[in-house]
Each structure stands twice: as C-alpha cells, then as structure tokens.
C-alpha cells in the first residue's frame, strides 16, 4: 500500500508473501505512502508482518497484533534474510508506534508483549 491518508484497520493478514526476495509482507507501507494509519490488524505467518519502506512518511501504527512473521520454516531455511514482525526502514521520526504487540522488529519497539486486563 502506498496511498495517501489511507486507513487500514481491523484486517487479518496471514500467510502472504514469498521468501525470496525478502520484501513481501502482510501489510506494507511502500515508498510514496504518506499519512497512513495502520490500526487494530492481526498479522501473522507472512514473509514480513508489517513492512515500512524507506520512502514512507508520517505513518501511524497502533493497536495491532503482529506476531509469528515469518513462519518457522522460512526462518530456518533463510536465517540471514531480513524478515521480522515489523521491518521499519523509514527515517527516524516518520513512523509512530503505539500499543502494538510484536516480537521481532527493526526500528520498531519490539518485543512488547502486552497483557490486557479482563474487560
């Protein structure tokens, strides 16, 4: 996705993307994407969970569960590949993270394992 002022919310993305090359994703904010909000999505088992490329600007990422990316077989077959739950290549200050659950991240606040109290 590289639109302007888009909102991606409440989606489930599982098992998307090829292992080679290692730039596929469950949700992607690609060069040219500005002012997008990614919120309350559930993302697992993809090549990368959330991939934010170097040219993305002013992205808000909040309240997502992004875990188990990539699947263990890809992780074992390609241990040197650049795969993660959140792979953020945008310049510092261009992506805003709030209350996400993830385990592996590049330039992202992982691991953050949140246990929410019963409602």
């Amino acid at each position: 996705m590289n639109g302007q002022n888009s909102r991606v919310r409440l989606n489930e993305t599982h098992g998307n993307g090829y292992a080679e090359p290692d730039d596929d994703f469950g949700i992607g904010v690609i060069d040219g994407g500005n002012d997008n909000v990614i919120e309350e999505n559930n993302v697992s088992g993809n090549t990368n969970g959330l991939f934010i490329t170097a040219g993305a600007r002013n992205t808000i990422v909040r309240d997502n569960v992004i875990v188990g990316n990539p699947g263990i077989q890809i992780g074992n077959l390609k241990p040197d590949a650049r795969h993660a739950d959140i792979l953020n290549l945008a310049p510092a200050g261009q992506t805003y993270f709030e209350r996400n659950v993830c385990v592996t991240g590049v330039n992202a606040p992982c691991p953050v394992l949140v246990v929410r109290p019963p409602q």
Binding site: N2, G3, R7, R9, N11, N16, I27, G28, T47, F51
Partner: protein, 173 residues
C-alpha cells in the same frame, strides 16, 4: 368519494416505491470480458473470470458499489501454486479505475487473479473496501497506489497472496 380514491392511490404508490429495491445490476456466471460497473452492482452467484489480460470488474462511475453478497470471484491462477511467483499485466480482480467514492463490500471471496485481487488506482478518492477475503492472488490481495487518497480498507482477510518479483514488494495489503 373521488378525493378518498386519490388518497388511497397515492398511499399505494408510496408503499410500492418503498417496497421496491433500488435498481442494481446483477452478475453471476462466467465473464469473458471486463464488466464495467456504472451503477450499484450485486453478485447473485459465483463469478468465474476468463477475461484475458484485463480486469474482471472495473468501476466506470463514481459513487457506486459492488456487493459480493457472499459469493466468489475466481481468476485463472492455479488454486495451489497461484502463478508460481509471476505476475501477469492487468489481470486484476477489481480496479477502481480512478473513480471516486466507490465501495467494494463483502462478504465474499476474491481469488486466483494473476495480479492484484483489488487495485485502488491513482486518482481514486474515498474508496472503501470492507469485509472481503482475498486469497491466492499473484500480486497483493489489496493494493492501494500512491496517487489514491482517503482509502479505507477495513475488516478484510488476506491470505496466500504475493509474488516473487524483484523490486516489487507485495503481499496482503
């Protein structure tokens, strides 16, 4: 007496107008050329798309919606392997085609297209895509291009989409 007849007739017209569904196109079966959406459109059965190197559905007007109503749209990719990593030009399931305020509404399944399942093209504003499942498409399940504005992608399920093209990252959304 005549006045009373007029009142009854007017009431009957109002009731009839309220009961009648708004006009909408209805689609099912096999498509062999692109279906251009110019008014609200309902799938009334599963659709198989065999349209060559073209989109299956293309919006041709703004402020209209495509409702899948629980049915599927199926392209020509392999059910297990998709396209084996390749992408074929223009073989989208649905393109917004630059129209504004169009709505693709689930539930429904968009599968096995040899490019993006849905592409929100440049120039489109206010597109809404909601409640769909996109699977085994050979590009992203849902793609929003750089010159598309104010798109909402909400409550969808994306699985087994993607390609191995170098320099063209893709996947779910």
């Amino acid at each position: 007496m005549a006045q009373r007849r007029h009142i009854v007739l007017a009431a009957a017209i109002v009731v009839t107008a309220l009961a009648a569904p708004a006009w909408a196109d209805q689609v099912s079966g096999t498509l062999t050329r692109t279906f251009v959406i110019v008014e609200d459109t309902d799938l009334v059965g599963d659709v198989v798309c065999n349209v060559g190197s073209n989109p299956c559905f293309s919006f041709g007007a703004s402020n209209v919606e495509l409702r899948l109503n629980g049915f599927s749209m199926t392209g020509t990719a392999n059910a297990v392997t998709g396209c084996g990593g390749a992408i074929f030009a223009n073989e989208f399931g649905i393109t917004t085609n630059g129209q504004h305020n169009v709505y693709v509404r689930g539930p429904g399944l968009i599968q096995r297209f040899r490019n993006f399942g849905i592409t929100v093209t440049g120039g489109s504003r206010g597109t809404r895509i909601q409640g769909l499942t996109a699977s085994t498409n050979c590009g992203s399940g849902i793609r929003v291009t750089a010159a598309a504005f104010d798109t909402v992608v909400e409550g969808n399920r994306l699985t087994r989409n993607g390609a191995s093209s170098v320099g063209a990252p893709c996947g779910g959304i």
